[in-house]
C-alpha cells in the first residue's frame, strides 16, 4: 500500500539536476512555488510550464513517473476544485437544484488545479533528484542563518536524517507486529473504516514501546561515538557551490525577472489575483 507512493521518493540518476547543490534546488523550488501564487496569469502559467518542461527534460525522469506521483493527492485536488467550482459567489453560469456554477468559480477552480498540480510536480522534482541525506544537509546549511534566531537548525536536520533512517525499520516492525497479532486472531482488513482504525490501536502500543527502546539505544550509541551537538563538528561531505550551481541561480533570477516583466507588460485578460 505504502510502496505505491512515488511522491517524495528519490529517483536515482546522474543528470545535471541530480548533481546540483541541494541548497540550489531548495531555493529553486521555493522560487517556483512562490511564483505560482504571486503571479496568477495565463502568461505566468505558460512561463511556469516552460520552466518545468525544461527542468523535467534535463532531469531525465520519465514524465509518466512524475505524473504517477500526482495520483495519491488527486482526491484532495478534486475536492479543492469542486469546492471552488460550486461555492464561489458571483455571476451564475449554470444551475442545477441547489448547486450553481459561477464564472468566477470556474476561474478559481482552474487556477487552483493548475497551481496544485505544478506545486506537486515542482516539489516532487526536488525529492526525485535529491537524496534525503543531501536534502537534510541542504536544509542544515541553507537555513544555518536561522541559528541567529536560536532555531536549532543542526538538531532539526539531525532529527530528520534519523527519522529517514528509521522509517523503513519501523515499517518492518509494524509489519511484524501485525502478523504476530493476526496469528492470534486480530483482523486488520475487514469491517468499516472505524472498525479498522480501532483494530490499529493495539498495534500502536507495542510499536511505540519499541520505538522508545530504539531511541534510547540510539542515543547511547550516538553519545558513545562522541556526539555532542553541532558545535565543533566537521563534515564528511561539505556542500560546495560549483559553476553549475551559480548557473542555476542565474536561471532562477532570469525566471523571476521574466515573471515580473510578464505581470506588467503582457496583459492576457484572464487575471483575477
Amino acid at each position: 500500500m505504502l510502496k505505491d507512493i512515488t511522491l517524495g521518493q528519490y529517483y536515482p540518476g546522474n543528470s545535471i539536476i541530480h548533481r546540483l547543490d541541494p541548497r540550489v534546488k531548495l531555493m529553486g523550488t521555493m522560487v517556483f512555488i512562490v511564483s505560482l501564487f504571486a503571479f496568477g496569469s495565463v502568461s505566468a502559467y505558460l512561463l511556469a510550464t516552460l520552466a518545468i518542461a525544461v527542468v523535467v527534460t534535463t532531469s531525465k525522469i520519465p514524465l509518466k513517473y512524475i505524473l504517477k506521483g500526482l495520483k495519491p493527492v488527486f482526491v484532495l485536488m478534486l475536492i479543492t476544485v469542486l469546492f471552488n467550482l460550486f461555492l464561489t459567489p458571483g455571476r451564475t453560469v449554470w444551475k442545477f437544484w441547489k448547486l450553481s456554477i459561477t464564472a468566477e468559480g470556474i476561474r478559481f477552480a482552474i487556477h487552483m488545479a493548475v497551481r496544485l498540480t505544478y506545486l506537486i510536480i515542482g516539489s516532487s522534482i526536488l525529492t526525485f533528484t535529491t537524496t534525503p541525506n543531501s536534502l537534510t544537509d541542504g536544509l542544515e546549511t541553507g537555513l544555518g542563518f536561522l541559528n541567529v534566531f536560536h532555531v536549532p537548525v543542526h538538531e532539526i536536520a539531525m532529527m530528520m536524517s534519523i527519522a529517514l533512517r528509521f522509517i523503513p525499520i519501523l515499517m518492518d516492525e509494524t509489519d511484524k507486529i501485525m502478523r504476530a497479532q493476526e496469528a492470534r486472531g486480530a483482523d486488520f482488513h475487514s469491517g468499516g473504516l472505524i472498525r479498522r482504525v480501532k483494530a490499529m490501536v493495539p498495534l500502536l502500543v507495542p510499536l511505540f514501546v519499541s520505538a522508545f527502546r530504539r531511541a534510547n539505544d540510539l542515543a547511547l550509541a550516538m553519545e558513545s561515538r562522541g556526539y555532542h551537538g553541532g558545535a565543533g563538528r566537521t563534515k564528511m561531505k561539505p556542500l560546495v557551490y560549483r559553476r553549475r550551481d551559480v548557473a542555476a541561480y542565474i536561471a532562477m533570477a532570469v525566471y523571476l525577472i521574466l515573471m515580473i516583466l510578464l505581470k506588467f507588460f503582457v496583459k492576457i485578460p484572464v487575471n483575477i489575483l
Binding site: 539505544d217 540510539l218 562522541g226
Partner: protein, 292 residues
C-alpha cells in the same frame, strides 16, 4: 610475540554500580547493586573476553568503560583518564569505542560510508582525513564494496561490521563489544568474531568482548567470568574451561567440544582437561588410539 611490560589501558579498582529506582515523589525507594567491587586490568593489545549470564553485571561494566555510566564506587581509569572527570568524557569515549548489541539501533545514517564517518565528524576531524579514515575502517572490516549501500539492505553480520568500522574510524585504543553477536545467526556471528580477532591481531587494537557464547571466547588472551556483579573466575580459556563443574554452577555452558571431552573423561577415557577445539579433541583421541 608481545612485549611483557605493556601499558595498562584500562585500570578498574573495586568498581561498583548501583541502579536506583525512584518513587513518584522522586525519593529512592529501592536500589539494585549491579556491580559489587570488580577489579579489572587490561593491557594494550590484549583480547579479553567477559563471560556471564544475564544480570551478571557485564553490560553495566561495559558501559562504565565508555563513561556512559559513572561508577558509584571505586575508580576507573581508561587510557589514563579518570572516567569520573567530566572534562575527560570525550577523551575516554575516543579511547574506548563501543559496539552494542542491536545492529539496527546504532547505525545513524542511511548510507554506510556516512555512518562510518559519524564518529570522526563528531571529533572534528578535517574532511579529507575523514574520507581516509572511513576508507581504512571499511577495508579493515571487509565492507568497502558496500560503502554506498543503505544499512537496511545489509545482513545482521554486515551491519555489525559497519558498526565496528564506525568505531575503528575514531581510532580508539580499545574496542568494547557488548554482546555484539546476540542478535545474529551463526553465520553472522562468526563473521563478526572473525573481524574482531583480525583487528586485534593485525591492527593491535585492544578488544574487550562481552558475550555469553562460549565458542567466541576460546581465542581470547584472558577470560573473565562474572556472576551476580562479581568476578568469579579469571584465566586463559583453557584454565576456565577446565572447570566445567564450576561453570555449570553459575549456569554457564562450556563449548560443545569441551563438554563432550569432559563427558568422555567422566566415563573413563583418559583425556586432558580444557579441550577447546574439535581439532584438539581428534588429536587427543588419535593419540589414545595409537597407544592401544
Amino acid at each position: 610475540m608481545r612485549k611483557p611490560d605493556r601499558k595498562s589501558i584500562i585500570e578498574g579498582h573495586e568498581l561498583r554500580y548501583e541502579y536506583l529506582h525512584y518513587d513518584d515523589e522522586g525519593k529512592v525507594d529501592s536500589s539494585y547493586e549491579a556491580l559489587k567491587g570488580v577489579d579489572l586490568d587490561v593491557k594494550e593489545g590484549q583480547f579479553i573476553a567477559i563471560l556471564g549470564h544475564n544480570g551478571s553485571g557485564k553490560s553495566t561494566l561495559a558501559r562504565q568503560l565508555n563513561a556512559l555510566l559513572i561508577p558509584t564506587g571505586g575508580t576507573l581509569f581508561v587510557d589514563g583518564s579518570d572516567t569520573r572527570d567530566e572534562s575527560k568524557v570525550w577523551l575516554v569515549r575516543q579511547a574506548a569505542g563501543m559496539v552494542f548489541q542491536n545492529p539496527d539501533n546504532q547505525i545513524i545514517s542511511s548510507v554506510v560510508e556516512e555512518d562510518v564517518g559519524f564518529g570522526p565528524e563528531n571529533m572534528g576531524v578535517p574532511t579529507k582525513e575523514i574520507w581516509e579514515r572511513v576508507r581504512k575502517a571499511l577495508t579493515a572490516v571487509g565492507m568497502m564494496e558496500y560503502r554506498k549501500s543503505s544499512p537496511n539492505r545489509l545482513s545482521g553480520g554486515q551491519k555489525q561490521r559497519v558498526a565496528i568500522a564506525g568505531v575503528i574510524a575514531m581510532r580508539p585504543k580499545c574496542i568494547v563489544l557488548d554482546e555484539p553477536t546476540a542478535m545474529l545467526d551463526p553465520g553472522g556471528r562468526s563473521e563478526v568474531v572473525g573481524t574482531v580477532r583480525q583487528l586485534n591481531r593485525e591492527e593491535g587494537v585492544t578488544v574487550i568482548l562481552i558475550t555469553h557464547y562460549m565458542e567466541e571466547v576460546i581465542h581470547a588472551d584472558r577470560v573473565i567470568v562474572m556472576d551476580e556483579g562479581k568476578v568469579v573466575m579469571t584465566g586463559t580459556p583453557r584454565e576456565i574451561f577446565s572447570r566445567v563443574e564450576d561453570l555449570k554452577k553459575i549456569r554457564l555452558d562450556v563449548p560443545q567440544v569441551t563438554e563432550l571431552a569432559y563427558m568422555l573423561k567422566q566415563s573413563g577415557v583418559p583425556l586432558p582437561d580444557g579441550i577447546l577445539t574439535i581439532g584438539e579433541l581428534t588429536e587427543e583421541l588419535g593419540k589414545l588410539k595409537g597407544r592401544k
